[in-house]
Symmetry: C2
């Protein structure tokens, strides 16, 4: 710690401006909500490095006391911790409040606002229940993931008529992760089909997917990136050469335009972004 006085108008203490900080995501459940929103908030501060810790299932004052010890240790190492919490139990919250850290309560204030809007109080025990809706969602996801595995990479056309979405693209443009994300996150039946040399002599869509043109969505990428990804699989092959990648992407994009299949460049998009665009374009959000 330095004792240099801060310039007038600057905020916080020197420790508050340290470029490496500890970030804790503390939850009474899985921690996924705390991680998702906490990381979305931290992404606005690219000048800092955050050492992240997710601590799920903190549902007792004893559990909370362990977390406070961890946070105090990070504070002792000069990491001025930020703590994102989604805990709902008052006893747990009051223990966490004692941690030497900036605490950001991701639920509390919003819950109070919602109670006002709905004219009722939140039933505190919730989040523990496993409802019929959960079971249905579970089965839907299980079916969707199995469907995606069976129909990955054009392996099967058995139940292609049931597909909500069919992703088409040359090899290694990102079909599989996007397929799987749509299946898991939304329970959609998603198939994918690789465009190969055999698919280009004809004018229309490949024979297998042609009956379902309205459910098709194309992916493309940049030749350089495709070459890089293919190189990982088959180094120094024709398959991974820049010339071959350029040719395949050009033919694929021409096919998408000719057959009016909507498409997207995957090179600067995350799996989540591509999934959101596909849902919106094909209007299949469940």
């Amino acid at each position: 710690m330095t004792s240099t006085p801060l310039a007038p108008g600057s905020a916080g203490t020197p420790a508050d401006r340290a470029p490496v900080r500890a970030a804790y995501f503390v939850s009474d459940s899985t921690g996924i909500t705390a991680e998702t929103l906490g990381n979305a908030l931290l992404a606005n501060f690219p000048g800092f490095t955050f050492v992240r810790h997710t601590i799920p299932f903190v549902d007792s004052p004893e559990g909370a006391a362990n977390v406070v010890r961890d946070i105090a240790a990070a504070h002792g190492r000069g990491l001025a911790p930020i703590v994102f919490t989604t805990t709902k139990d008052a006893a747990v919250d009051s223990v966490l409040a004692a941690a030497p850290a900036t605490r950001i309560d991701l639920l509390g204030g919003h819950l109070t606002d919602l109670e006002g809007a709905l004219g009722t109080t939140a039933s505190e025990q919730l989040g523990q229940f496993h409802t019929v809706g959960d079971t249905e969602r579970y089965f839907a996801r299980m079916r969707a993931v199995e469907y995606a595995i069976e129909h990955d990479d054009g392996q099967s056309s058995r139940a292609l008529d049931l597909a909500d979405v069919i992703i088409i693209a040359p090899s290694r443009c990102g079909k599989t992760p996007t397929t799987m994300y749509l299946a898991l996150q939304y329970g959609l039946l998603v198939a994918n089909y690789p465009l190969t040399d055999d698919d280009f002599p004809t004018d229309g869509l490949p024979r297998l997917v042609a009956p379902y043109g309205a459910r098709c969505f194309g992916l493309t990428t940049t030749p350089l990136r495709l070459s890089q990804v293919r190189h990982e699989r088959r180094p120094n092959s024709t398959y991974s050469s820049l010339a071959q990648c350029t040719l395949e992407l050009r033919r694929a994009e021409e096919l998408y335009r000719r057959t009016r299949v909507p498409f997207l460049n995957s090179s600067t998009k995350s799996v989540e972004e591509m999934s959101a665009v596909i849902l919106q374009t094909l209007k299949v959000r469940p």
Copy 2:
């Protein structure tokens, strides 16, 4: 709309207490953060039915005006909308503020708190960038999903030594969706292996996974639920009979205990919850 006066002490207007409400998740990006946190908040109000709408990529005042029109229409139908927003642009926000709805800003206040804690202001342009870290994460997820497909259901042992996690369980206990979630969400290499009759004569773990006992995690469920799930695949078979399911689960749980493989009952847990427990138990959180 009724004009019955509210009892003293009750909050809000009669429309505020209507059991069916519209919920909007409005984002300038994918909408996933808004959906995740919004749904976590709404789960506390089980007495209400929420008609949900996710509207991603709202990044212009014109886009926001369209959303306000949708919200106004829902309001006109008596659905007293609740609007969760994760938009960051001031012009977009001021358009949304005009919607006839309860607005819950999931980012704004927290961002201000974070700016105070970090002694700096958020760079507004962020969230748009696609960084080297994103590309690395993309490749890691792609590899992880492909690994999961290759090593699903004991189909391959080619690279089992690379697995971060090996999920073992009798058929239809939920191995596949949990495997895929761990791969997609965390980029972990996850294999899964089905326990069958062949695996029980010996005392130890099945031969294929025995070298990697410390990375194994078992799943179990209730006989009734297992029978129900199996019945969907093969109705009225021995495979789906309650007697067979009871036997297989009992033998699997004995195996987990004998070989000290940690395990979990999947019947009352979501895929997210199981994943969080597995990460915590095996200490493989990336």
